[in-house]
């Protein structure tokens, strides 16, 4: 019944036996012992579970772990390099782009995808690109500021 999957998470190889019905978010949290991707809706509406799959931001509550077999996953835990925060993490910190922090890992990875695709987004483009990620604390304004600041820093 169980199937073996092998995948890379934050640059490290993992191989595990999983039930075919196991959601990717549960695999990441329960079996790979990650705490960055969060569960907040189970219906793909909130984006708290967002991770990057082969370089694209996806909602890991709406994928089975077996669908990630052979693929590369980046979670918020893997975003800093050698202890140095990613410019987006740094910008979210400087601009107060988070309060309770629960949506933050997903929000940052969605913004990462935006900046990969569009290094100089307008406010409007930032707001559109993160509309699939819910935040109940910030009213989004400081998040928009943070993404703009990170983009400006990358372009500088």
């Amino acid at each position: 019944m169980k199937r073996t999957i092998a995948l890379s998470i934050n640059g490290k190889s993992h191989a595990d036996e999983v039930e075919p019905r196991l959601l990717l978010i549960h695999y990441l949290r329960e079996m790979a012992s990650l705490t960055g991707p969060h569960i907040a809706c189970e219906t793909s509406t909130c984006g708290a579970c967002t991770v990057m799959l082969d370089g694209k931001a996806v909602k890991s509550c709406t994928m089975f772990a077996v669908q990630a077999d052979g693929r590369k996953i980046l979670t918020i835990e893997g975003l800093a390099t050698n202890g140095k925060l990613d410019p987006l993490q740094e910008a979210f910190w400087n601009e107060h782009g988070l309060q309770c922090g629960f949506c933050t890992p997903g929000m940052i990875l969605t913004a990462k995808q935006l900046l990969n695709d569009n290094p100089n987004p307008t406010d409007e483009e930032i707001r559109k690109s993160i509309e699939g990620n819910l935040c109940r604390c910030t009213g989004y304004q400081h998040i928009v500021n943070a993404v703009k600041a990170a983009a400006a820093k990358a372009g500088a």
């Binding site: 960055g36 991707p37 509406t45 309770c100 109940r136 009213g139």
Partner: protein, 776 residues
Amino acid sequence: MATTTTKPETLFGKKIRRREDPRLLTGTATYLDDIKMPGMHHACVVRSPHAAARIKSLNVKPALARPGVTAVFTGADVKDLGPIPCGASLPGLRTPHHHILAQDRVYLVGHPVAVVVATDRYIAADAVDLIEVDYEVLPAVSDPEKALAPGAPAVHPQWPDNTAFTFHQEGGDITGAFAQAEVVVKQRITSQRLIPTSMETRGVVADWHAGDKSLTLWSSTQIPHLLRTLLAGILGMPENHLRVITPEVGGGFGSKLNVYAEEALMAFVSMRIGKPVKWVESRRENFLCTIHGRGHVDYFELAARRDGTMLGLRLKLIQDLGAYHQLLTPAIPTLSVLMMPGLYKFKNISADIVGVFTNCTPTDAYRGAGRPEATHGIERMVDILAAELKMDPAELRRKNFVGKDEFPFQTATGLAYDSGNYVLPLDTALAEIDYPALRREQQQARASGKLMGIGLSTYGEICAIGPSPATPAGGWESATVKIEPSGKITVMTGASPHGQGEETTFAQIVADELGVDIDDVVVVHGDTAIVQYGIGTFGSRGTAIGGTALYYALQELKGKVKKFGAMLLECDDVALAGGKCVDERSGKSVPFAQVAAASYRAMKLPPNTQPGLVATYFWEPPNFTFPFGAHVVITDVDRETGQVSIRRYVAVDDCGKIINPLIVAGQVHGGVAQGLGQALWEQAVYDENGQLLSGELTDYALPRAHMMPWIESSHTETPSPVNPLGVKGVGEAGTIGCSPAVVNSVVDALSHLGVRHIDMPLTPEKVWKLIQGGRA
């Protein structure tokens, strides 16, 4: 109290990035669901699909037969525990016995009926589907006004009128006010049911230690100490055998200011199975089983003279309580009554509350808790009066404001407003938008068939909740400050921040008072085994009360530090600066770490002084604080679709002194987002059978990034005389100020079409119908 710190640069008022953020930004913070323990079991709750039903039979055997299922517990197992407490007391209040699990009857959709415990969360969820419950469905009622009608289904059969309480409050001479009135405006105004929706749902981990009969319980809560006291009561356990820990908490907004069935249930389960157990609420459960907010139907009557002088306000308030009282359910509408005069100086009020049972989720404190409803009411009524008198709404407000020299101001509802200058934020906001030019633009827009509105709200709020006599469980807060032997500083606060950033603002206060580096300060909270008793974080009280307790603890501690410093420097008095004790006459100094070490080493002690450097302070506030402000919203309404667009949102808030402007801005933005959610989009919708139709995030319109306008936020600063920091609180300001400004703006846009009022949320359908000349 003057500080003796001579450090040239203070951190009070500085934009300091938050010290709690690194763990949150890297995904390494420990929220409830991140807790894992050896042998930990998972629980799933079986819930009623019906709003009212008798449980005819319950068969748990098929679930128990599922491999991996450890236990199933039903109402019979927990009938002697509890009840789930209600802390509010009102004369004649009817309080239904609130069991942890349903006994023979269910009263709302989501009512917990049984709990399944398994080795794995998937197995627990599977087993829920194997429990067979035979229900006899009964008639339900979900609308509070229908619940009051004769012949309505009785939510609790013993109280066929569905009335939990009635409450009357009066101040001044209301009859005289209405007798003198030259004009009376009346309006029915609703504040719809809302779902608080913290991004992290609730969750509980319970771990029973049979050997010493003690229980450790982790809960995503705003009130760890109150939870411990009340849970000990529910479980019949000595309070000192129970330790409550709040891990990182992913938002609360009042919804985690409560004691819930699952907290007691998980404690019970862990005691029965002898293993740790975890329950994490699904979003569906969060919408059904965590408290809702608002749920008002208000009938207002405002009496005035033709010159605009407001004379008195009458309110009949129908509060939808839901099926049970949670911790503060019946108390919330009484806060609305306290706030009903707003910022205006009329002294005659009369309010009648009817608290109504419905077969719905209990309502309780959600961001603002009673005050947004009141503010929405008075600010709508002022605009309705302005329209009636053909007066400018800004001018009418100015005419009736409490003057800046009239503080402390005694209100007709028994409050003493601490300080204020109500004209200032209004005039600041109106200057910001160039109000006269906008009114001219509006005339031109109307002439060309366009719909444009300008809406004001000048709000006040009750913060720093609050003096103990005004609260059910004590309204003080506590702080302990320790200078460790190495000179590093640890703060333990009884507040329980969950996103508000007090690990940073409190460290700013410490750094300023002691003259030390902020990086030498650690702020600890949310563990009843470590932190002295505290009340918690809600009601915009964290900094105004918790910060003040910390301030006074620091004053005590400074006295002691100085005694040791003076002893070491062999002088009479020292100042604290730059991490040192300084003898200002000789210029000699001794580093802080050396003073701390000497205090613990205790080779020599100053006269009448104990070793060590620790101070604890429990601060009882003498009054609430009363922030205020003005929000101005410019809207454009699409005539063809009824869509409301916000062109500008200007917020000028006065929350007293500001410790960290970055954090205050974040609180304002987030508060406005929740106010705007209520004004335009959010609504908990029940059908007539008590089914929650907006039962998932897919069906509940939470504000998303592209829906939010840019918020132009600025401040005036009128210090509070209530506390030495001069702070008032800001957590709820945005929410309270927002909704009337938005609705006033849209009504203003449609006023020339004969529209006088619209109830929230202002959906395009509702607005479009009004434009067409119909009724909303």
